[in-house]
């Protein structure tokens, strides 16, 4: 039996009136990011690891890796005293450890760049970046300039904001 755990956070102070929205808008307001890995755990990933969404989009992280647990954890001082890499007005999130088949949801309201990581796999550069809205939005906050709290490997693994905005989503096939 597969356990499924869903937790929903609303960040940025907005109220999501999901059931009052037209069907087409509801369908577009949910994006799925899968956590995956090879059978022996040589490689692990978020897919996509770069994603552009509109404000108010709910992100569902799903662990599709049958042999590992993963987290989706925002870089933020409130979580393990990390340097903030999400917009200042946004609240941080941490999925906790998701076993295979489990999922976690977070709704992103504040425009800007959100970087997150997997706690047990940050050293292997299992990280991702979500871009909410675009730079012309009020309250937009771009990517963190910090280079001291994360490794060069992590920084190299984060897609460029320009590329995410241009492509919409960036997956492993786009890594090379």
């Amino acid at each position: 039996m597969t356990l499924e755990r869903r937790r929903v956070l609303k960040l940025g102070g907005g109220i999501i009136a999901t059931f009052s929205l037209p069907l087409s808008v509801r369908a577009a307001s949910l994006e799925i990011i899968e956590m995956g890995g090879t059978a022996r755990g040589e490689r692990i990933w978020f897919a996509p690891h770069g994603l552009a969404v509109s404000a108010g989009t709910t992100i569902r992280f799903v662990n599709r890796d049958p042999g590992n647990s993963h987290t989706a954890t925002a870089y933020h001082p409130d979580l393990f005293d990390r340097t903030r890499r999400i917009p200042k007005a946004a609240g941080p999130w941490d999925s906790g450890f998701l076993l295979p088949g489990e999922s976690f949801e977070v709704t992103l309201e504040i425009p800007g760049v959100y970087d997150y990581y997997c706690i047990p796999h940050e050293m292997a550069a299992m990280v991702g970046r979500i871009v909410v809205g675009n730079p012309s939005d009020p309250r937009w906050e771009g990517s963190s300039p910090d280079t001291g709290d994360v490794s060069a490997k992590v920084l190299a693994a984060l897609p460029r904001v320009e590329d995410i905005l241009a492509k919409g989503r960036i997956g492993r096939e786009d890594d090379t």
């Binding site: 022996r40 755990g41 040589e42 490689r43 049958p66 042999g67 647990s69 796999h121 050293m123």
Partner: protein
């Protein structure tokens, strides 16, 4: 006199062998007793890991282990060691590690990017204890 000493040495050696055999017997079927704990009871990992089975480890031996790997029927099928690559590179050696069974049919060594319990990228050294063990641990 010499015969007497040889007899004593032989008896001591036989006793030691019996003790080792007894210790191994205790580990051949899950659950492994103390000081071993089931990994999924203390870490956020599935109870049965595809490729590794149900793992038991003595916490004091982390990160190297041994991790005792049992199949779905609770039969000891492999002994697994997990050795962080940067620890090895920095001079750490893991010597005289315990093995779950003295019968080893084959050994696999491969890279793992990390998981709860052994976060650092590391090598898995897997000693299979019979020819069918890998198949039984696969899923």
């Amino acid at each position: 006199m010499i015969k007497s000493i040889l007899l004593s040495v032989t008896l001591v050696a036989a006793s030691a062998s019996l003790a080792i055999a007894h210790d191994n017997e205790a580990l051949l079927h899950a659950p492994a007793g103390e000081p071993y704990v089931q990994v999924s009871d203390v870490l956020p990992l599935p109870a049965f890991l595809p490729g590794l089975g149900t793992l038991f480890v003595a916490p004091d031996t982390l990160p190297a282990g041994p991790f005792l790997a049992y199949d779905h029927d609770g039969k000891l099928s492999a002994t697994v060691y997990m050795t962080p690559l940067d620890d090895l590179q920095n001079g750490t050696s893991y010597d005289d590690l315990i093995i779950g069974s003295h019968e080893v049919s084959s050994v696999d060594i491969y890279y793992n990017a990390g998981h709860p319990g052994v976060d650092k990228p590391h090598a898995h050294v897997v000693l299979y204890h019979d020819a069918e063990a890998k198949k039984r641990l696969a899923k």
